[in-house]
Amino acid sequence: MTRNVIDYLNRIVNICPDKTAYSDGSVSLTFRQVYDQSRALASFLAGKGIYKKPVVIYMQKSPAEVAAFFGTVTAGDYYVPVDDTMPFEKIRMILDNVKSPLILCDEKTIGDARAQGLDKEAQVLLYSDTLDTPVDQEALSDIRGKALDTDPIYIVFTSGSTGTPKGVCACHRSVIDYLEVLTDVLKIDENTVFGSQTPLFVDACLKELYPTLMFGATTYLIPRYLFATPVPLVEYMNRYKINTVCWVVTALKMISALGALDEVRPEYLHTIAFGSEVFPLREFRKWRKACPDAEFINLYGPTEATGMTCYYRVDRDFEDGEPIPIGKPFPNREVMLFKEDMTLAGAGEEGEICIRGNALTLGYYNDPVKTREAFVQNPLNPFYPELIYKTGDIGRVNERGELVFVSRKDYQIKRNGYRIELGEVEANVEKLPEITSAVCIWDNDKNRLVLYYVGNVEERPLKKILTEKLSDYMIPNRIVRLDKIPQTPNGKIDRAGLKKLYLSKRK
């Protein structure tokens, strides 16, 4: 029984040491190199006495960053990935939360880290400078011997409605449980060539990084800019014979909507897993036509339940307007639909999707209050401690017995695959001295985030300020200044009224 994710690396390095494990097309690392780098970093951390601590990895998406993750775990620590695309304010909030003793950087990020004064909060170091540390086998064996599968591996940060991101902390046991069922459904083996699309600071990247170790597969970390240019992107996939992708719907949609599949076909692709959003049927059909022999799998799951919870193998055509189901839970986790009164929804009834099982993460790091709100005692079990995670997603079971995603309970949206609390955008806008109040609405049909505000600043300068305060994916598409924010008769923000106002002006 595997109890530590590093056991996958220790095993595979003896089977195919010289095979490419991770590559971005120009820089590659073999399994042997990943192993050696991670053990050097782990020995460095052990030597510094950094044990059972969060270690911030502030690097560009690269094979070296992956090795840094594994080195951190080998040292008995847990990684906290941040990214060169994050605004500094967000990085600072993350540092405040995790209080890491160390920030590992690459050549590009270390300058920013120092210029922003992050070195006052923690030691800032180049990852590459740790790699000549001699391996301390005794220390590493000792750490491995003491490790439990309930110890954390990573903390990834997700949007928080009050403006502060929440750090979801996951342990070995949940990740291993997830990897075993996921790789079974996706039929991963040593011939799998992944094309990784998601950033490494979200848990979505578990789908490629760890199965690569389990099976001796290969992962190409596709350069981000290619996702803006669909034909060169497909050409890149063909050049490296990428046959398996687990992408957010937006990325697949971009390729088909811009007409790239008429120009070039992904020749090797046989497994297309998608998730994070609803796949519009019009675009989905273009993909099926371009890759008629490929398997399409819809994935669904919140970060709080470690990766994905449900899957649906697309096995039929759909009527226009019919949603592609999210199917059924992976083995060893249960989805329960609870109505408002916390009784179970009946056949066809809607209810909040709640999850039970090993897959539940440890909760929000250093935030017991928010953890207790979302991870609660199973209301059907008064007999012993058993948590469920309340997703805030509303679902129902259709006539075929398949789970279908219906909507959100609150103001959380999905944009470009990222989870965004509208409240986080609003709170960050309202922090600006020029702003009196701010409200966001989301146009799901056109994928547009619209910000209404009252304040002493014009629209374009405000957008300029926001590019420094918010992550790219949180920047509104439209910004509209108002004299006052409309209110309902009982004094609440009239979101429905704003939405009507917006729709009346939409082209």
Partner: protein
Amino acid sequence: MEELLEILEDLHPEIDFETTENLITDGILDSLDIVTLVSEISENFDIAVSAKYITPANFNSAQAIYEMIETIQAEG
């Protein structure tokens, strides 16, 4: 060119599009920007921008985008 700059500045007011190069390769224009940009260009210049034109070379600077628009118009 004015019209194009207006569209671009609406997307990213923080960027000086008359001097900035590598809009794509430096990640300034991301996939969502490209989708918006292509639809606005198609609408405002009354052209169809087919996928084969959407390359880093054609979108790395305002000047390059403008030249691409002219090429498509000439073909039209």
